[in-house]
Amino acid sequence: MKYSQSRSAGAVYLTTIALLLALVSVSVTAISLYFIAQSESLLWKNTNTTLSARSEVYMADIGARLLHAPAWDNTLPSQVFSTMSNVTTTPLTGGEITSATISRSDTDGIFTDTKVQSLVRFPLLINLPPAALVIHDNLHPLAAFHLYVPTARAHPRSPLAVWSNTEVNLLSAPRFTCKESAIHPPQCQANAVSHAMVKKSDVKDKDSALPPDALTYLFASDIGNTPLSAFKRIAWKKMTNCKSLPTASPFIWIDGHCEITAGKTLGSPNSPALIIVRNGDIQLHSNTRMYGLVVSYREKTKFTQRVLMAPDAAIVGSLVLNHPASADSAIQVMYDFAVLSTLRSLPALQQISLVPGSVQ
């Protein structure tokens, strides 16, 4: 009897110890699982972050490749084109808008990261000047001009020679507009559309539709308050004069006077340029041509900027002024919608926007 009682007592102790051990084991296991879960969670977070970072880099790479690509079609590198879908093109006046959806999947272990976003590519030039001369200020009364707008080269919707938000007086100086297709002032004067005696509809002045700021009109710079310096940063060539002008560059920025010596040509009908001359004169000597859109921009200065061209020199495209020009200015512009369209469509003069809400 005593023996069986002592065995029972031993069993009780052993059972108690076994239970305590079991409790300890369970606790240790639970704590282990907690720490394992913490480590796993960190590893998962790491994998997730790595995948997300890779996608970010990939999408940036695709965007950069698409910005200046000649076309969004199968001429693109296969690794780019294979990510694209829903490519659509919408025509603009002298340009186009292209949109596409980019998607990409990346897998690491049990995780798959899928990124989808829609991009729209559109011209840097938000508006294409419809006139040979666009003036965002009062033109100096003595500044002369000959503006050629041949019918075949005119803007299809608004064929203008002058567009200004202030009055343009044709009496105060030799000012002629014509439809001649060759630079020849006497012929332009002889066949003038608008001149001192008559102002026809090709001179659109006192038009409040033209914004006071040239950058707002050309680039919609008021959206996001883009300063002038930003456009200098995205120019392809930056110069302080025109002594060593490149024969072709899509976007040229000149800080200072731009004097082009006789016989020189800047750009061509097939590779025109956007040329911004900041706080400087523009002087074209005999038999010179500038193809594209020339912006004579005066910034924070009251100095008079001269725009002087020899009788056989001209800008082929359009000229935008945000200042009155000097009294001795003589402007000659041959409006050319085809040249401006080519300019606006240049891959180098495009920008991309992410379609809001399209990023997944």
Binding site: L42, T50, A53, A131, I234
Partner: protein, 182 residues
Amino acid sequence: MSVIQPSPRSGMVLLEVLLAMIMMTSVLLGCIAVVQNFQQTSIATSLYGAAMNTAQRYRSHFSLVGKKGFADLPIFVQIAPNAGGLLPPGNNTVNLGPHIAPHGYSVSWHSTEKYTQNANVYTTAQSSGCPYPLIKHIDITVSWQNLDGNMLSYSTQTAISHPLLSAHPDKLFRLDATVPTP
């Protein structure tokens, strides 16, 4: 004469006590080892997690550059191979909570500029390609010393796009919208 008989329970109790002591000691030692191990793991995990968060903070900072269109152009231009931006490389002290002393992390990042010509990407500007970089690839590395004195590191990456790649979508509504009054 009385003979004292040994209690049949005394041997068993002693055996049980010995067994119990051995088992409890083993368990106790095991528990101490496990707790120490857990503590080290916990600290190592916290250190790693803090490194990840530090790297993430830098990554988030960089990935936001260029998203505000042209307003971000000055920052984009400023970011040079190892400088620029608002978060320069350097040392960071991270507070890891009440049980771990604040720990020092060394952060370094390197930017690689990517240029394009048509639809191809290069690490240098091409003669007829875009003269300025359209992407800045940022590699971020966070280094720290673990409890054993060994140096560990965590790396991540991101890419900053030129503001021309994140133009304001409102500009789309202005395309050809300004026309002469009829």
